[in-house]
């Protein structure tokens, strides 16, 4: 189990680190919402970290803060050694981000979408075209990449979105429920892609509530509930800790324990 | 339709229609944007607009009254400027208390010039504030005086103003000159006139208000009904598909026909509501405006309530068919945005004939009673003017009923097309024709 550390030699290998990350916002309907309540998290390069949690636990808020879209109320977050609120642009350059609500421009072709975001990343034209070809090959986009975005199926959209996220070869990947709404074929392709990222020394942080995916993929798993990290560790560690055999059980027992604590 | 076999008593078609309409209405009114658009906006907008108009008019009037203009008098060689004219022009101010309105008069400022045009050209070239010029020519060969020429530039408002002020004063001066001469001859100046005439308008205030209303209201009613139906129509059909709730609605255990009718009914209710509110707010602010403007001769604003009550059923029928047609067309669109793009031209289809209908030459008769939109406008107009044309009214009511029924049939037919469900593409406008050709069951 790794502990957060500031020593420079270890910093290189740390993909994502948060210290007491906190986010409070208010909503006209729900009033004051503590979305994230002091989260400490470390994710190494070459590691796949799964963030598990029920709906509304704060997963999306956490990932959005890491991607510098939202700014934290308190605490710090480092992505690839860069503090998020200090230099958000640099952070954005180092991450590939895929959100649940990712959409595509309905009137642009897949290729044009990729080119647009590549240009915004500041990629050189030649290098960009080369990379797009490469991604079309890797993700098998050739069948539809030149059609308009409005004609894509859900799986095609997700494939294209992933290709868009890794276009600039980011050292850190932040994926918010990447398999949501995908059929078995598409989601297994997605899982295959995520596990292949490990070999590229990429840090992958992804959220999901599909236990089997987390079991199969993750080097480490964190369970988040009511904005707090209940427990984390490798799958085996978690099983040992709770004495449950499957991740579902681990998850449920962690949540129940937290609920009991809250009531007390 | 076959009777339902379920244990529960299923509601009749009309009950179901009303149920759906109530549900739709509630959800529309709960939506903050719709509420703001159809309630708050008309109430706030009209007073603000009218306030701006009144203040603007006052500002312009104030500045206008205080504008000083510059006029000159010039003459051709051999011509004379009548005695005392310069003094008369200078002294006879429109309203002495307001100070001088003719800032500077330069008699013979230009001096001699061969003709009016060259005098004007010379003066305007020399002075950018040259507003109007009175030019005198020499008598003609028989020794008769030739009329003076008042030069101005109609493209400049100060020049028009100077023209009007100068013309008025010269005319008054001419009257004085004649009166003086008559007195010299020992003649009563009033004998010079001989014939006088005046006009007397016999219409009383109520008739005038009714007449003004009959000019404005028909078009306004049509425009407001169409605009009021616009957003609800897009919202209940295209908007529902965008939100993805249309399948749920379609699966309600009531006849499809009831669902569609309920939707049309709710759109109609919203449109009527918005029309009513708009008219109310407009009436309140316009009454205010009339009070402000008619400070001298006050117009007694008395609304022809009986006529307005007669207008209501026609307005309702018309709103119903507008709502139905708009719902039907909006149903072709996949999203709110598309629905809007589709309905934009449709709006014009209603408003254009309405504009033609308020033209003075067109009257309500048995032929015009059959033309959609135009007939409504004409009926509104003639009702407000207090005309009694029972056969034409009945004819219009009948044709309105038929149009409303036809548009509902059309809307229901479009709404119940399966293709609408399945297609991911938006339906092209030409597809409309296809829908009409092959009707499908409405269940």
């Amino acid at each position: 189990m790794t502990t957060p550390t500031d020593s420079p030699e270890q910093l290189d290998s740390v993909g994502i680190r948060t210290e007491g990350l906190r986010k409070v916002y208010s909503d006209s309907k729900r009033g004051r919402v503590v979305a994230l309540d002091g989260l400490d998290l470390v994710c190494q390069r070459g590691e796949i970290y799964g963030l598990l949690g029920p709906n509304g636990a704060g997963k999306t808020t956490c990932l959005r803060m890491l991607s510098s879209v939202l700014s934290p109320t308190a605490g710090k977050a480092f992505v690839d050694g860069v503090e998020v609120s200090q230099d958000p642009l640099e952070v954005r350059r180092r991450i590939g981000f895929l959100s649940t609500s990712t959409g595509l421009y309905p009137r642009l072709t897949g290729r044009e979408t990729l080119r647009y975001f590549g240009e915004l990343q500041g990629m050189q034209a030649q290098q960009l075209e080369q990379r797009i070809e490469e991604l079309i090959h890797v993700f098998e986009l050739s069948g539809f990449v030149d059609g308009p975005g409005s004609s894509f199926s859900t799986g095609q959209k997700q494939k294209l979105s992933i290709a868009r996220a890794v276009l600039h070869e980011p050292p850190v990947l932040i994926l918010d429920e990447p398999t949501l709404g995908l059929d078995i074929l598409a989601s297994s392709a997605m899982i295959e892609f995520i596990s292949s990222a490990r070999s590229h020394n990429t840090c992958v942080l992804f959220s999901t509530h599909i236990m089997s995916e987390a079991e199969r993929l993750c080097d480490r798993i964190g369970i988040i509930y009511h904005g707090r990290l209940l427990t984390e560790g490798t799958y085996d560690q978690l099983r040992e800790e709770t004495g449950e055999e499957y991740l579902d059980g681990v998850f449920l027992s962690a949540v129940r324990r937290a609920d009991e604590e809250l009531e007390v | 339709m076959p009777a339902s076999r379920s244990a529960h008593r299923s509601p009749s078609l009309w009950q179901a229609t009303l149920l759906v309409a109530r549900m739709e209405l509630r959800s529309s009114l709960r939506d903050r944007q719709t509420a703001i658009y159809s309630v708050v906006l008309p109430i706030c907008l009209y007073p603000i607009l009218f306030w701006m108009m009144i203040q603007g008019a006052l500002l312009v009037q104030g500045r206008h009254e205080h504008t000083t203009v510059q006029v000159a008098i010039a003459r051709a060689p051999g011509a004379t400027v009548p005695d005392k004219l310069v003094d008369a022009v200078r002294l006879a101010a429109d309203a002495p208390a307001q100070g001088p309105h003719i800032e500077r008069i330069e008699p013979e400022f230009v001096g001699y010039a061969p003709d009016a045009e060259s005098a004007w050209a010379e003066w305007t070239a020399r002075d950018p504030r040259a507003d109007a010029l009175l030019f005198f020519s020499p008598p003609d060969d028989q020794g008769n005086e030739t009329p003076a020429i008042l030069c101005y530039d109609s493209t400049r408002s100060a020049s028009v103003l100077a023209h009007d002020r100068l013309a008025k004063r010269v005319k008054a001066h001419a009257r004085d000159v004649r009166a003086d001469r008559a007195l010299e001859h020992g003649i009563d100046p009033s004998d010079l006139q001989g014939v006088n005439f005046s006009q007397r308008d016999l219409a009383d205030d109520r008739e005038k208000v009714a007449y003004i209303l009959s000019m404005l209201l028909p078009l306004l009613l049509v425009v407001m009904a169409v605009m009021g139906a616009f957003f609800p129509a897009v919202d209940t059909s295209a908007g529902e598909r965008e939100r993805g709730t249309h399948e749920t609605t379609m699966l309600l255990p009531v006849p499809r026909l009831a669902v569609h009718q309920g939707k049309i009914l709710s759109v109609c209710a919203l449109a009527l509501f918005a029309t009513g509110l708009n008219l109310l707010a407009l009436g309140l602010s316009a009454g205010h405006l009339l009070e402000m403007i008619a400070s001298g001769g006050k117009i007694n604003v008395e609304l022809p309530l009986a006529a307005l009550a007669m207008v209501a059923p026609f307005a309702m029928l018309f709103t119903f068919s507008v709502s139905a047609i708009m719902c039907g067309i909006a149903a072709l669109a996949k999203s709110f945005k598309e629905g809007q793009a589709l309905l934009g031209p449709v709006q014009l289809l209603f408003i254009m004939p309405a504009m033609a209908g308020v033209l003075p030459g067109i009257e309500l008769d048995l032929r015009t009673a059959l033309i959609p939109v135009v007939n409504v406008v004409l009926v509104f107009r003639s009702l407000l003017r207090g005309e009694v044309l029972p056969i034409e009214y009945a004819m219009t009511a009948l044709s309105l009923l038929i149009y409303a029924w036809l548009s509902i049939v059309f809307a229901v037919r479009v709404l119940s097309r399966e293709a609408l469900f399945l297609s991911t593409e938006s339906t092209p406008l030409l597809g409309l024709l296809r829908f009409l050709r092959s009707p499908k069951g409405t269940r």
């Binding site: 208010s26 | 009037q61 109609s154 001989g194 005439f197 016999l202 919202d235």
Partner: protein, 672 residues
Amino acid sequence: MSQAPKARSVRRIVFKNEVLILLRDRRALFAGLVLPVLLYPLVFLGQGWLTRFAEESTESREVLLALELSAAPEAQRTRILALLEQRVPVRLRQLEPGATAAIWDLSQVDTRASRARERALVRELCPDPEEALVSAGPDPDAPRGVLLRIFFDATHEGSREAAKRASLALGECQAEVHAARLEELLGGDPAAALVHESRDLALAEDLGGALLGRMLPLFAVLVLLSAGSYAALSAFAGEREAGTIETLLVQPVPGSDVVWGKAGAVLLTGLTALGLNLASLLAAISLGLGNFPGSAEAGGHVGPERFFYGALMLLPLCLLISAVLCLVCGRARSFREGQHYLLPLSLLTMLPAALAMMDEVELDPLLAAVPIAGSALAFRDVMVGNLALFPGLVAWVATLLWSALALSSLGTIFDAERVLVSEGSEEEDAQRRVQSRKAIAWGFAGVLSVYVLGGLAQGAHAVWGLALTLWLLLPLLSLLALRGTLRRAGEGWKSALFWHLPRSSHLLAALLAAPALARLSQAWIAWQEQVLPLPSSLVEADFGVLGELSGPAAFALLALSPGICEELFFRGAILSGLRRDLSPQKCIAWQALLFGAVHASIYRFVPSALLGGLLAALTLRSRSLLPAMLLHTSYNGVLILGSESPWFAADWVPWLLVPAALLLFVPARARA
């Protein structure tokens, strides 16, 4: 790893992408390119046809005239008949001699009843309401003359047209008889030279320019609004609807650059649409379609340099409208929401642009600074060839400044917090905003209801209407506004309403300040008269019935009642909501705006606003409503009752402000 793109290239990339997306939209292209080319010629043709139809149908209408000319001398009667018969198609009906005698008897008096009687008599003679009546009788002003009266009903087209033709014929007859009399009695017209003819010497280019200059600003605004709003909605609301906004936000480029790129696309769309529409419109005009006087010349005669400078004038306007559209559409969460914002926006934009159609409105430096109005008027003046340099420059620069203001706030559109977390950021912050937002909303609700309901009540009865507005409407509104504030803040009504006993020094300060402020406001009004002169109708209308009230009644209604009720609402209920989260300066500014607005007159805006601000400051300072009530009452009281008295004009009156200010500030410092 890639290099960060420069700001300019980011804007270029976004711009290119937006244009590409817009070009892919076939419907928009059709509406933007094909429609204008077809539409204007068609609309103009239709309009020309319709007006011609309306004119012809009125002209060819047979009018009915009933005549009773027995009082006129034989020669004149024949002449009038001949002249009337020329106004074809006409049907004349001679009435019995003396048939209209009863009507003439009535003409001595003019009352409601006599009018109704007159009406009934005329209707009896002419049962058809489309028929007009011409009747001759003695002229009360000229013993030897004849007066011809035309009776008609303006609410009937036929009758109106009959009266029009009759008066044309009678006018001709009048001129003939007049000339004959002059010849006969005076041996010719002594004022022949004064019978002037008007000659419009406007240049053809100016006439054409005036036509275009009046029409084009509103037209340009309309086109810019429709095309620009489409582009803006597609670029901003469309991005949110497609769900691409979050992806865009995590790109390593500043949000403001993205917004700038999009704004550029909006501007380009607007300009393109405007260019195409203008070209089509001008072509239609110069082909002579439509029914404008001199329309055929307009296109041809206006020189290219006027078009050039006109375009130069319109350019900042395009920028401004595009920026405002981006601001509005950028706030919208969906296409639908954006659409809802557009109607009020277009109305507020079109109204100032329509000023150019009114010839009486002239461009001056003050008006030139008003957004849209300034540009529209300057454009018109350029087209007429009549633009004064200074106001024109002001209009140009001011519009640019307004656009810069709008553009500078564009950057906040893609504020991620607001975009992604539906609304609100920090909790306390939002809580604060709720109170002041509600207070401001209530303030405007009060202003509107005083304007509409109060205006209606005062229209019905000046005194009671005013009393009702002050003592019923305002307290009711105060209660409603205060209820929400109290519920949210959990506070007693006394402290919320500043209902405490003030220090006596503060009361004294209020009493001292009142005459001084009244004097200053009079001085301001006098100065304002130079810039914004009051129209005579307002000067004459003055107070009407209210001016006739006796001293004590006037004081009670016009000084005491506003002093209590207006303070209760503005300085009580509204200020108590505002001060919870706004700085005192902002509270005072809002109070000034609301109090200026409630007086509903441009002429009284500045003094009312200043007074409102001062009253708010006084209330905040003394933590009590009473000094404000006292100041307001005595201020109004001095203006109503004391403005005539000699001491009011004394030189020392304005200096009373100094001790008043000292009384307010010195004790506090001593305590601190």
